[in-house]
């Protein structure tokens, strides 16, 4: 039986399927992320008060901040489980390149965590009184922004692999890197409010996702090789 020609696409997809299978078995994390997001969406109007004009100013920012804050706790688990149970050692001793696996991990995290949040984001948008024509743009910008947050997140998760209280450290390390995504993510909907076209912000968001798509597998692979040789 000769070794089947290793096409990386097949390995990439099979690794995504594996990660989704693992995450779907522990649904508790995904439910807790919803809870987090809902909590933030509810807290802001409580603080700002029911007047719709005030909420309008803040609604986009609240949705995006909710998305970012809700994702951060789940980022750390992306690699932690596979590091402690030795799966990363197995990957390091197999012909599959580590970069493909890490790309698969961030995409599967995007599918498992961001897509459900985005599917339910219209409900959150209505809670905050967003107009209807803004919702499709919100979904588009959140999915692209969410993708680059996952790419940054995997770098952050790899940075704190093996650290003592690592999960306390993750927000401090990740938040400065997410600021551009927040600025242009909120910018997409804000420019609709002002009447400008949302495209420039959207294209910048796409540009960031592409930059992080290229950077993050290689940087996290370096970090994981450091962590494995610990």
């Amino acid at each position: 039986m000769n070794n089947k020609e290793l096409n990386w696409i097949y390995l990439f997809i099979s690794h995504i399927k594996r990660d989704i299978l693992i995450n779907s078995r522990s649904l508790f994390d995904i439910v807790s992320i919803f809870g987090f997001m809902l909590l933030i969406i509810i807290l802001f109007p409580m603080g700002i008060g029911p007047i719709q004009e005030k909420l309008d100013i803040v609604s986009n920012a609240v949705l995006w901040i909710g998305l970012i804050i809700a994702i951060i706790p789940s980022l750390e688990k992306m690699i932690q489980r596979d590091y402690t149970n030795g799966w990363l050692d197995q990957i390091a001793t197999s012909p599959i390149p580590l970069e493909i696996v890490l790309l698969a991990k961030s995409i599967s995290h995007w599918i498992i965590v961001i897509i459900p949040l985005i599917i339910t984001s219209p409900i959150f948008a209505i809670l905050l009184g967003l107009e209807f024509n803004q919702i499709p743009w919100l979904i588009l910008s959140m999915s692209i922004g969410g993708l680059s947050i996952c790419f940054i997140g995997i770098i952050g998760a790899a940075l704190i692999l093996g650290a003592r209280r690592g999960n306390v450290l993750l927000p401090v390390i990740i938040l400065p890197l997410i600021i551009p995504i927040l600025i242009f993510g909120v910018g997409v909907n804000e420019s609709i409010k002002i009447g400008l076209s949302p495209l420039p912000n959207l294209f910048l968001l796409i540009a960031f996702s592409l930059i992080y798509l290229v950077i993050s597998p290689f940087i996290s692979a370096i970090l994981i090789r450091i962590a494995i040789s610990r």
């Binding site: 290793l6 690794h15 489980r81 030795g86 799966w87 197995q90 990957i91 494995i228 610990r230």
Partner: protein, 214 residues
Amino acid sequence: MLNLKNLNIYRGSRIVFSGLNAEIKTSTLTLIKGKNGSGKSTLLRTIAGLTPIEGGEINQNGVNIFHAKEQWVRKLIFIDNKNGLSDELTVRENLLTWVKIKGWDTNKENLVLALESVGMQKYMNFYISQCSDGLKKRAALARLYFSFFNEVDFWLLDEPTNALDHSSYLLLQSLLSKFIKMKGSILIASHDKKSLIKDYDTLDIDKLRNVKTI
């Protein structure tokens, strides 16, 4: 023949080996003996390419194994006490995904045969989180069966017999002797006194070490 030429290996800032010279004969079983913390596992991890070498080199018949690391890594199976099994997946799924990343084809019969080789066919659909340590170790050892019809030269096993009961110990023995007959080489790090197969080579780390480290 795998020979290690004045090898320097560090774990973080701690010097584990300095100037280690050794020969490991191939197509036999080599038992690495040594006290706890003497660096047995580190040596295995270094041969598996996980821990970087600070100085010296490891060659197999003259060729430095890490010059073509991808080929070297493809031809070895490394199992340590962490087993590399995901708790949320079942025994069968774990084995399936492992074979996929190794790049071998995964038809059904091989999977069932592999599980039978370690007596795990009854627990095929158990989640790893439900399994005991012994079952987990056997689920990991099921991977060894795939080396009989794929190109594998080296087994690197770190204390494989710890959690095994007597019947699975015998199953492991048959796997080992079958692999030796196929000219494969096995490296086992263990302080388990009873030997696994009749004739085996030993490599005592403490005698080899010429630099006193902690």
